[in-house]
Subunit: 202 residues, 2 copies
DNA sequence: TAAATTTTGTACCACTCGGTACGAATCTAA
DNA sequence: TTAGATTCGTACCGAGTGGTACAAAATTTA
């Protein structure tokens, strides 16, 4: 299925698929968090040995960053999709609904990788925590900008505060992640979202 | 300052104060999470050596449980206090306000011990995660019962769902914890709470 | 004083952690 | 066939992990 590039690389070829190995690593980090995942966990799940991992992905932090990118483009892609909805109300409904679908998907861990991933990190891995904070902040900023547009379009009332609303939506989403990690069912998450929506303007 | 009990214990007396050592341990666990805290971190902060820790508090999990009790009776005591407020509205306002005050207190870590403590735990320490889930669920149940009483007293509308409302409040609180851990200021947390309160009945 | 009891500090245990050195294996290019 | 390049697997590194054995020290009871 793969189109051969003009020249095949020299040397011994890789015995594993890079993208598939990355997906396996994502599963492990998602389930166990950054700190709870050991290199042995990773190599076992990825089906490769340690030096191959280092050669292909760099050290643990570097691999985790690549996994975060893959997460944003895969399971968490609903965020970008939600931002394209026509109205602010539709955006927030899709954001909460997408989060709930993901958090309660029985095939994946009950929780959000960026929320669970590094909340309980020690100071030693401050770099990882900062990375996750940065990414969460970027997501929140994207939501705020979308709401600013909605306000300009008259889709949100003139007295609405896009920043406050974005922060509120992000907060509810994070809270949903904690609830899901604690065992809340999809139905329960939906009821929480319905209650949260009562705070919405109009 | 201490009243001497009828008989002093035999053997060599302890060279440290148990409660103070527990407070020091709380600070460490709160800041670094269960998994991010090593025994060396603990003994250094508590000013005692390893065998003394084990003799006085048991192993790491046992010490963590004692720390959780101390947390509930100390920094998180606002929850019990909030449940005694006269109206459901006052209860939820005190719950959110107390959480915000705690989360944004510069003297303590920005985050909730039970939320950050074990979200990113591996399977090996499932016991700790379960313990924290159980405690969070118990807190949520207490809020629900308080809202059921409020409904019976006519303090909440007849069509209000105490369970949904309690879950919603807990979710917002957990989300606030994540926001605080990400660096949100007290003022920002307050605005989130104000937005969240718009979902409240009446 | 002497025995019994408890805590203290040192020094250690087996194990796991993240990370790497190095030679054998497998490919392309000449 | 040979030389060069790259990956693979084994075997290892120092450091840190949670937890403990043991003897010296400090206290109460007899």
């Amino acid at each position: 299925m793969k189109v051969k590039k003009s020249i095949a690389p020299m040397g011994r070829p890789r015995a594993f698929d890079v993208d598939e190995a990355l997906d396996r690593a994502l599963q492990v980090f998602w389930r166990k968090g950054y700190q709870g995942t050991s290199l042995s966990d990773l190599t076992r799940a990825m089906g490769i040995n340690r030096p191959s991992l280092y050669a292909a992905f760099g050290d643990k932090q570097s691999l985790f960053r690549k996994v975060l990118d893959r997460y944003a483009d895969g399971p968490a892609a609903y965020v970008r999709e939600a931002l394209n909805k026509p109205t602010a109300r539709a955006v927030v409904e899709r954001l909460l609904g997408g989060a709930i679908d993901l958090l309660s998907d029985p095939r994946t861990p009950q929780g959000c990788l960026t929320v669970q991933g590094a909340l309980s990190c020690g100071e030693a891995i401050d770099a990882v925590r900062q990375e996750l904070n940065t990414r969460r902040a970027a997501g929140e900023a994207a939501i705020r900008e979308r709401f600013e547009r909605a306000k300009a379009e008259g889709d949100l009332p003139k007295d609405a505060n896009p920043g406050d609303l974005a922060r509120y939506v992000a907060t509810v989403m994070h809270g949903l992640s904690v609830q899901a990690a604690g065992g809340a069912s999809r139905a329960e998450l939906r009821r929480i979202a319905r209650t949260a929506l009562r705070a919405w303007p109009q």
